[in-house]
Amino acid sequence: MLAAASVGALSALGGCVDEGGVLSLGADPEKPTVAILEDRSQTFALTGTPKYRATKLAVEEINRDGGILGQEIDVFAPDPQSDNMRYQDLTRHAIYQEDVDALWAGYSSATREAIRPIVNDHEQLYFYTTQYEGGVCDRSVFPLGATARQQLGAVVPYLIEEYGDEIYTVAADYNFGQLSGDWVRIIAEEHGAEVVGEEYVPLDESQFGSTINRIQSADPDFMMSMLVGQDHSAFYEQRLASGLEVPVGTSTNMAQAYEHLRIDPPALKDVYAGVNYMEELPTDRNEAFVERYHDRWDDDGYLNQEAQNNYFSVYVYKKGVERAGTFDQAAVIDALEEGIEVEAPEGDIALDPATHHMEHNMRVAHADENHEITFDAERKIEPAFLHDVGCDLTSEDEQTQYEPDAFYEEA
């Protein structure tokens, strides 16, 4: 009773509190600002740094060409240091203190989930660009990276065709890995193949002796590797050392953390990655992009798939604002939901209004014994899964993440 009474009093007091506070100095509301919260240190520095750089590059290019609606864009970009608590603090700071008009944030799905409640509370326009497990159907979130279904949909059928129909899955033991494992099963089923073994490895595991044993005794036609992070990258050297020769399909390796450049050949021989982009993509548009990127950042850091996603998504945002004629976030979201096409380094692609995802130019990247990359089987793949589950943000606002096991028997 005491608690109830004091809560009553407190909420009465709360009513007097102004959102900005008596002393608060808000950001200049006239100047459009975007936040780039990408990891430049600690766990995800390797993949986060190019994301930050490519976003910055895009904003600078736009500003040089006269900005958006004639206004220069300010950037708020502290380093969240791969720490989700920091992400939460910085997201709040970006929303309250910087009053940002759009937010790019986070490499891992965990980061996205950590800040999504804050983003939703404030209806903050948020671009999440990592290739991810898929399924986010959320009014203020635009997950523009390829989904697991898009990436695996590129590589799994290709390998079934090339090598045969017995698949062994090894994936990181967390959300992304588990859902990717589900997708491999679904796609295998759709193509008449079979998953003969499946294994989920803790994120901090770096000894794959027993895993390799089990793969060898299962003797699959090819294996799918959805391993992620530093510790897991030890797998490839151990695979080489143990003489495991089954071809490897992946949605996680090479395009993001450029294992083919960091690990000595031939550890990644016959690794096939389903990707929408890699720096090595031999098109004129991409080569020009890569050159601009390296000129701007003046070192030989790898330009990864996610960085490209960040880059084109800034242009998606620009088109949205221009179509809306205002930086007002609700208006921009509505404008984006009318559909946007963009000339991305990976090719011409379009935003899918209903799901806030992109269709992507998917291809299979193959590493040979010298870790040279070649591309094959290019085709456009739509974000089909969310359509199947009935996500249509143009007609109904949602803040959900759908998962395949509820919709496919095989999962």
Binding site: A3, A4, S6, V7, G8, L10, S11, L13, G14, C16, V17, D18, E19, G20, G21, V22, L23, S24, S41, Q42, P78, D79, P80, Q81, D83, N84, M85, R86, Q88, D89, L90, R92, H93, Y96, Q97, S108, S109, A110, R112, E113, A114, R116, P117, I118, D121, D173, Y174, N175, F176, G177, Q178, L179, Y200, P202, L203, Q399, Q401, E403, D405, A406
Partner: protein
């Protein structure tokens, strides 16, 4: 916050009396005046700086409450737990599970109660297991840390759809998202607690817990705790059931940590396994060590100050926060093992004692200074 009137003149010494004694510092009107001023200032933060201060500040206050839970068991009963975050996190998850499934006022109220009950029961079970099994000293410390790390590993792999309780997905490494805000009430009568309300609820919980623990540690049970900390075997030979005392203290500590976990989770609408991780587990130890493990107010101050500095460092993008926090810990233990607040208190007492002591400072009957170590 009715304290304002009590502390002003020392007229209501009788009201202060249960909160004072040699087991806590600050048994003077000046202290209570200072405390009131500090609480008033904290209460004014959202008014001065808006929702932003309320959102950020509520997290700091929840941390302070977590720090208090460790200070209480370590500083007063000598049980060093490296796993207070286990109770914090378990309660956070428990609240999330109930609240996501029943996001009504009744459900939220139940969620709060159930979560604190779960963390309390968990602490009781672990405490029973350890203390009645003769586990002591470093073994308790290691065991509690291992429990936190086991939870970290366990919840990290609950990504699959089978790890759902009703509508609540444990969510593995990505954490549990969509946890509703706090609410209190039954049926349609009650209050949903928004951003600012949450700040005041957290502040209120901290103040009430602080005062409650002050009263507890200065009670007969508090003496028994302190005696157990000082010399367990001796205390047993004075007829105290020290095993039971440790068990009770550990359980209360778990309950407080659990409450802070609920407040933290409801504030962020989110919880993930990193709350059980080794860095998170270190923080309460840092706050209590730096602030003073035998000083509740010192621990609260240290938690607020350290987290504020950490936040500022994060904004500036500096990577040095953890280095600073770790070094601070080493430095404090080496230079002033008792912590900052007890050391300051000593200076204050000496300062008052050395020149001509003013009559106002003569200790009230029943007050014994210098008992704090």
């Amino acid at each position: 916050m009715s304290l304002g009137s009590d502390s002003s003149g020392g007229l209501l010494a009788a009201v202060r009396e249960p909160f004072e004694g040699p087991n806590t510092m600050g048994n003077t009107p000046a202290f209570w005046l200072g405390l009131t001023a500090a609480v008033t200032l904290l209460a004014a933060m959202p008014v001065l700086f808006g929702y932003y201060a309320a959102e950020i500040g509520a997290v700091f206050l929840a941390y302070a409450l977590l720090g208090v839970s460790l200070c209480f068991i370590w500083g007063y009963c000598g049980i060093l737990s490296f796993g207070q975050v286990a109770f914090f996190g378990v309660a956070g998850y428990a609240f999330g599970i109930v609240a996501i499934n029943v996001p009504t006022l009744t459900g939220l109220t139940l969620g709060l109660l159930a979560a604190v009950a779960v963390s309390t029961a968990f602490a009781a079970a672990l405490g029973y297991f350890m203390f009645y099994g003769g586990v002591r000293d470093v073994y308790v410390t290691i065991l509690t840390l291992v429990v936190a790390l086991v939870l970290y590993t366990f919840l990290g792999q609950t990504a699959g759809g089978e790890w759902a309780i009703g509508d609540a997905r444990l969510g593995g490494f990505n954490g549990m998202s969509g946890v509703p805000d706090l609410g209190v009430g039954i049926g349609s009568v009650g209050l949903e607690i928004g951003i600012v309300g949450h700040y005041y609820v957290t502040l209120g919980a901290l103040v009430v817990t602080y005062l409650g623990l002050r009263a507890l540690v200065n009670s007969q049970f508090g003496y028994a705790m302190v005696a157990t900390r000082e010399d367990e075997r001796r205390t047993e030979m004075f007829g105290y059931d020290t095993t039971f005392i440790k068990f009770v203290v550990f359980t209360i500590g778990g309950a407080i940590a659990g409450l802070s976990g609920v407040l933290f989770t409801a504030q962020n609408n989110y919880i993930d396994p990193s709350v059980f991780g080794i860095t998170a587990a270190a923080l309460p130890v840092v706050w209590a060590s730096v602030g003073g493990r035998t000083s509740l107010i010192g621990t609260i101050g240290a938690a607020l100050a350290i987290q504020f500095v950490d936040y500022q460092l994060a904004l500036s993008g500096s990577e040095w926060a953890l280095v600073l926090i770790g070094s601070l810990l080493v430095f404090v233990i080496l230079v002033m093992p008792e912590g900052v607040a007890p050391r300051l208190h000593e200076y204050v007492v000496e300062y008052r004692a050395s020149p001509d002591p003013t009559p106002a400072e003569t200790p009230a009957p029943g007050e014994v200074h210098g008992g704090d170590d």
